[in-house]
Point group: C2
Chain length 230, copies 2
Amino acid sequence: MSTHDSVTEPTRGLPDVSELVVGVLGGTGDQGRGLAYRLAKAGQQVVIGSRTAERAETAAAELGLGVRGADNATAARESDIVIVAVPWEGHAATLSGLREELAGKLVVDCVNPLGFDKQGAYAIRPEEGSAAQQAAALLPDSRVTAAFHHLSAVLLQDPAIEQIDTDVMVLGEDREATDTVQALAARIPGMRGIFAGRLRNAHQVESLVANLISVNRRYKAHAGLRITDV
Amino acid sequence: MSTHDSVTEPTRGLPDVSELVVGVLGGTGDQGRGLAYRLAKAGQQVVIGSRTAERAETAAAELGLGVRGADNATAARESDIVIVAVPWEGHAATLSGLREELAGKLVVDCVNPLGFDKQGAYAIRPEEGSAAQQAAALLPDSRVTAAFHHLSAVLLQDPAIEQIDTDVMVLGEDREATDTVQALAARIPGMRGIFAGRLRNAHQVESLVANLISVNRRYKAHAGLRITDV
């Protein structure tokens, strides 16, 4: 269907991010740990953050691959790129407390505001429009992007899986920032970072995880997304 | 990544829909015409509807393949499955006026409530939660599903393209209804219908089109979605 060189096109001209330190706030949760593992395995320097340094250090030691652990503030301070993978319930409080540490940093929000009841998952709409927009409102001195929403934590953490065949939708206002996050995603084998709009269109990307949960239940899968014709 | 028979699994056990008549309301628009063309090409009986029978008949004659044209009310009455592909602006008014004709029918809403400004497309949140939930509220005697949101009208209408390599997320409350819509999607070569949740999770599926528009602009593509691991 495409006349493009479909595998390489979205990564062409992206910056070299191999020397950047990546912090993962909430790095002891499944999503955070999975991302930390994949990025470290790809050769990235990774610091996982947690509310207590001890928990982060324990998780880091389990991951190996040179991953370090620290409290969230230290992890933020020591990183160039900071992935926010905390539970939605703690999102606003965690970020409000880290405004100074995150000043000047590239922040990547991957939080999915979801509720759960007996019918499954459903989208929660934050007052600011999305988790990413809430992050942008709370962190006026950071460059805030949104990405890494649709990855299966199970697949990310499974060492038997070499490739993560999923695209990462990257959203943000600032081309340099989204290019950097796209390049980071592309470090993980099988993964592509695809620019997918501004933060005002982050809500649907975040809440699409509710649909992927339905897919997983119906098909006993670990569903992800590929964008076709790119 | 998957242990599934990944191409056939989602269609296993789906009903035979080859004898069902498909109506396409708003069938003279790009999306409706594209869907009508693909379904007719796959051997489905198709009636496209428009506000005036003349416009529908003209569009039907252009499509060929046995496609008929009629006013929306007639198209609804003569069909088993009715795809709603009208512009969002006319969605509520069109459906309110067709409550009787659509009673007992399987309705497939594929409308994307979007706004546009100089920064591109953005999601509009209907009072009912989504276009599909609005349809369900206006059509209490119909079985309402949501599907066919992420297809490129350009690719659908291009006769040089044999396969539409895109998955169709199908949402609804009623298993028999969503199975039928999945089977309809699977009639089109390259396409799979994948169950992706209840109507309360339709908003993000509808509004994700804003993100695909951003993808299309950035990469000069006609982006669609594939669901991985299914």
